[in-house]
């Protein structure tokens, strides 16, 4: 049967939602739903949950590139069929999890995974770096200032040990977003990579008529940097367009989102900022925004060495200096941001000083500071 283009509404089914989750529970989870008593991390990547009933569920977490093929998914299915009664799941950070109900089944599963090259590294639990939440980048999106999957691959290759081992002071939640829309959880991550533009939009006068509602383009700009303008095209036509006061532009890209004739992207202008110290959980300290500590690193495909090294440096400075259970931001708050910059060997610039809406609340309004190397 299938879809009949002649008869699009025939037998149409809508609004049925997703399949019910219970259909996909492994038996041990169905039986022990809401009855779990405690868990252990048996080894990196392997969780053991114990139920009030005494039942056990072993979970093996494997990394995933997230941008994966159906062939790859089918291979996951093969594994799950072989070891896990045909069930697997994905985590909120895009790792895959294979569950078994018996300790004896763990090692065969691990062996199988290990036998498949670099496709299924086991890890990401406990005091580790888990998978990076990330976005589309050049593989799919229209507004990116950097790539996503490639940068993530380059970074995770370099800090791989921290995924497969648990040797950090606490969890490190990383993220990447390819533009300041921040589809990745950049604004509240321990370490985040953020694609940013640094050149004001061009105005494509030849194209603007038709693709863009001028008043919308103007009102898109939060800083009023866009004004209406009359311009004469090469063919002599006078049209309504806009002009941009580059001095007032903060490169947010909202104009481009609203008006395709105002592109910002540029090979030299675009690159990555590094933000650190955000978190989401309310454990110990409440949810916290990430702070922009490195305003710009160039896009240097395919391996973004500057970005990779910056991330690694921060990660390792934290690993070396923080107390147990202290997330990166908690550590920075305790030692003071001036000390953070020093420990991480990051140069400070006025780019990291807020000058947006709520800026005043971030100014240092106390004589309490440390005499770091920043003070000559």
């Amino acid at each position: 049967m299938g879809y009949d283009p002649e008869n699009p509404m025939k037998d149409r089914i809508t609004d049925i939602g997703p399949p019910h989750y219970e259909r996909f529970f492994p038996q041990v989870i169905k039986d022990n739903y809401g009855k779990w008593l405690y868990h252990e991390i048996v080894r990196p990547g392997v969780l053991k949950h114990v139920s009030e009933s005494g039942a056990e569920c072993y979970t093996v977490r494997v990394a995933s590139a997230r941008l994966i093929s159906i062939e790859h998914i089918r291979e996951m299915c093969d594994i799950a069929d072989k070891h896990c009664d045909g069930i697997l799941r994905f985590t909120t950070r895009n790792n895959a999890e294979f569950m078994v109900d018996d300790e004896a089944k763990v090692q065969p599963l691990l062996d199988d995974l290990a036998s498949r090259g670099n496709k299924f590294p086991v890890g990401g639990t406990g005091a580790s770096v888990s998978n990076m939440v990330h976005t589309q980048g050049w593989v799919h999106c229209h507004t990116p200032a950097t790539d996503a999957s490639g940068v993530v691959k380059a970074v995770m290759d370099e800090i791989f040990d921290y995924f497969v081992e648990m040797k950090l002071p606490a969890k490190c939640k990383m993220a990447l977003a390819c533009c300041i829309n921040m589809c990745g959880a950049v604004h509240a991550s321990d370490i985040a990579i953020l694609g940013i533009h640094r050149k004001p939009p061009m105005v494509d006068n030849e194209a603007i008529t038709g693709v863009c509602e001028i008043p919308l383009a103007i009102s898109a700009c939060p800083l009023g940097a866009i004004k209406p303008a009359k311009v004469t095209l090469e063919n002599g036509d006078e049209i309504k367009s806009v002009k941009v006061n580059a001095e007032r532009c903060m490169f947010c890209g909202n104009c481009y989102t609203m008006c395709p004739a105002m592109p910002l992207a540029d090979p030299e202008g675009d690159g990555c900022a590094i933000l650190v110290g955000g978190k989401v959980s309310a454990s110990r300290t409440g949810a916290t925004f990430s702070k922009l500590v490195i305003p710009f690193l160039p896009n240097n495909p395919p391996r973004w060495p500057e970005v990779v090294q910056a991330v690694k440096k921060i990660l390792e400075a934290w690993a070396k200096n923080a107390r147990k259970y202290e997330r990166i931001g908690e550590w920075a708050e305790r030692i003071g941001w001036e000390r953070f910059y020093e420990k991480c060997d990051i140069p400070f610039s006025d780019k990291s000083i807020d000058d947006y809406r709520l800026a005043y609340d971030t100014w240092r309004t106390t004589t309490q500071f440390k005499f770091t190397s920043h003070i000559k």
Binding site: L88, A96, V139, E158
Partner: protein, 424 residues
């Protein structure tokens, strides 16, 4: 057989982390358009800009969301991705799958699309990456008829709700996150599929303050489990942590050395409401803010209380345009339950929507509307009694908006009568 030379992409086949490049190549054997994905990406790696055109409005009939349109700016070079639309399938709550169902999705996508996916999108959808406009209706037909599965959200509508795995495999879930997520997803199919809002709106459900679905940072409406009574303590197990018999955090790190309950647990308690007394761990629960830290560190000794429920937070979002927002505590305690189809949540949601749909500006997230009108006004809208829990601290400026009714004599005054007492 590679269609394009991709020396830059090939570099990303090296290294221990799974390679999406190798994967693309593998899939290309079945879906040759994957060569063009690789080719166009290689070009982006060279040019350092995206090669996707701006926007692209496509969809399935009757729905205003679920598909993100995308067109190549170099369709001649890369005809396989000339159209490259994304299809968002609404994932089942907390993303357990039978291989049977997954394989059906794979077959569907092999037939109708590129064979590449995101498992999963940042909002939570299963994202099928790249297909042509003419495939959309057939795909949707097969999806709904054969898989009995539906699209998720995109555009100015309710986005696909998502949740932590909660009671399915976690000992800390204080309400049933999956049931809440699924029930509301089903309840709001219309809002998910047909944009009627000023901008996007996201629900996320976490079973406890650890917030494993990042609801406090990434959803307009976040429901986060908590409890009202006392942390359950098993003092015998406490002693086992102290003696080293049990590992901190169930073995959260291999590098932590000896357990030190004073430093590791009590020392990190944000309220300082814990202490040791004759070998027993004591908690002054009235002062506890249920941050989860002590429970996280000693999962066998401590458990959330039994009077469980959730806190409702609202207004989190990314920075466009006024700066990012974390969610704001709106309702301190509700008991969301499948017994009443989560009507407590529904009531709050609809109060907020009714108001936001009337007063929210175009492309204004509810958090921004909240900021624009101010928290006191928002609480009035929500018919929530203002309590100190709504703020970190009371205001420091004196600029209170009094209403005429609150002030004796109201605002109508006679300047003449005033001038009799107070000459110019």
């Amino acid at each position: 057989m590679p269609k394009h030379d991709t020396p830059l992409m090939d570099e990303l086949e090296k290294g221990p982390w799974p390679s999406f490049v190798s994967d693309l190549k593998r899939q290309a054997e079945k879906n040759p358009e994957c060569w063009d994905i690789l080719g166009q990406m290689e070009l982006s790696y060279k040019d350092k800009i995206t090669h996707w055109k701006h926007g692209g409005i496509v969809g399935v009939f009757g729905y205003g969301g679920g598909i993100v349109g995308r067109y190549s700016d170099s369709p001649d070079k890369f005809p396989g991705v000339a159209h490259f639309h994304t299809v968002r399938l609404n994932q089942p709550s907390s993303k357990f799958y039978s291989t049977e169902m997954l394989r059906k999705v794979c077959d569907l996508w092999e037939k109708h699309g590129s064979g590449m996916t995101n498992m999963h999108g940042s909002t939570g959808d299963m994202v099928l990456l790249g297909t042509r406009t003419e495939e959309l209706e057939p795909l949707f037909f097969d999806l709904t008829h054969e898989l009995k599965w539906d699209l998720g959200g995109s555009g100015s509508n309710l986005r696909t709700p998502s949740c932590c795995l909660g009671k399915a495999r976690c000992e800390w879930a204080c309400y049933d996150t999956q049931a809440a997520c699924h029930t509301l997803t089903m309840h709001y199919q219309d809002e998910i599929h047909r944009p009627a809002f000023p901008y996007k709106f996201k629900f996320k459900f976490s079973g406890c303050a650890n917030d494993c679905v990042a609801s406090a940072a990434r959803s307009d409406f976040a429901v986060i489990g908590t409890w009202r009574d006392n942390i359950r303590i098993n003092q015998d197990e406490v002693k086992k942590y102290i003696s080293g018999e049990l590992k901190a955090g169930g073995g959260i790190a291999d590098s932590f050395g000896a357990f030190d309950i004073k430093k590791d647990v009590i020392g990190h308690c944000p309220t300082g409401c814990m202490w040791m007394e004759g070998g027993d761990l004591k908690i002054d629960d009235a002062e506890c803010t249920r941050c989860m830290h002590c429970i996280n560190v000693m999962p066998r000794a401590l458990r959330p209380g039994v009077d469980q429920g959730a806190t409702i937070m609202m207004g989190a979002k990314a920075p466009i345009l006024d700066g990012a927002q974390l969610a704001t505590m709106v309702i301190p305690f509700v008991k969301p339950t499948a017994d009443n189809d989560f009507e407590d949540l529904i009531e709050v949601i609809e109060k907020a929507w009714d108001w936001w749909m009337e007063f929210g500006k175009n492309r204004e997230r509810i958090g921004e509307t909240m900021q624009r009108v101010g928290l006191p006004s928002f609480l009035r809208v929500m018919e929530v009694e203002p309590i100190p829990q709504h703020v970190k601290e009371p205001r420091c400026n004196p600029y209170v908006f009094w209403e005429a009714a609150e002030v004796e004599g109201g605002w109508d005054r006679d300047i003449k009568e005033f001038r009799e007492r107070h000459k110019m």
